[in-house]
């Protein structure tokens, strides 16, 4: 498996609280992505990064922000969590934007 670690693996939080998910890679890949996986919707891109401090929005970016201050770390923040953000979140990395390597996922429950 590619060196990609997500933390935490599971998180339960309350509506309105801030949440930060971390993705850490040891592959020195340029591209990093955050997806959410929901039944009936498949995988949807939230945000992505193509370099340090270079990020852009995906198709479901509302309510989420990201930061990438180092090549190896890509943080996803829910400023004020809502129940609709209950999901499984996957981080992915890629060297050239083609073949993606995925993390193990973070199960987030917003009560």
């Amino acid at each position: 498996d590619a060196g990609i670690t997500q933390s935490p693996r599971h998180k339960v939080t309350e509506t309105g609280t801030p949440v930060t998910l971390r993705c850490h890679q040891t592959e020195n890949h340029r591209y990093m992505y955050w997806y959410r996986q929901d039944p009936g919707h498949g995988l949807r891109l939230i945000h992505y990064s193509y370099g340090v401090k270079d990020t852009d929005k995906g198709e479901v970016s509302d309510g989420y922000s990201v930061s990438r201050s180092k090549t190896e770390d890509f943080l996803l923040t829910l400023e004020s969590a809502t129940s609709s953000q209950t999901s499984v979140y996957f981080c992915a990395i890629s060297e050239q934007g083609e073949k993606l390597f995925f993390g193990s996922g973070t199960q987030l429950s917003v009560l």
């Binding site: 591209y31 995988l43 949807r44 995906g58 934007g97 993606l100 390597f101 995925f102 996922g105």
Partner: protein
């Protein structure tokens, strides 16, 4: 805009039977198509990509530009093929990052 459609959410076949997971796409340019697979308790991983023209674990997929399809096929299903399968499209937008667009997935169950 690009779109990937997997019409079957669930697909069940018997062991040894042929299996076909359907994928249709819409995109005005020349896309690159992929199949990703997620086995139980494992990470989502690349199964195959159309430009490689290879067979992985007995699976093949042919890009049909006329029908805008990229169906995944295997002549004889095995129990270990049971998994969630995602079709994905990579549009060449010419930007710094090229983003995969995924379909909604098909859960394949192979019945012993």
């Amino acid at each position: 805009a690009q779109r990937v459609t997997q019409p079957e959410k669930l697909l069940s076949v018997f062991k040894g039977a042929p299996v076909e997971l359907k994928c249709n796409y819409s995109y005005s340019g020349s896309p690159e198509l992929f199949w990703y697979v997620q086995y139980s308790r494992q990470r989502l991983q690349l199964l195959l990509r159309h430009i490689s023209r290879e067979s992985i674990k007995g699976f093949t997929a042919d890009l049909n530009k006329g029908e805008t399809s990229f169906h995944l096929k295997k002549p004889f299903a095995q129990e270990e093929d049971s998994a969630m399968y995602y079709c994905a499209l990579l549009p060449w937008a010419g930007r710094g990052a090229n983003n995969l667009f995924f379909g909604t997935g098909t859960r394949l169950t192979v019945i012993p």
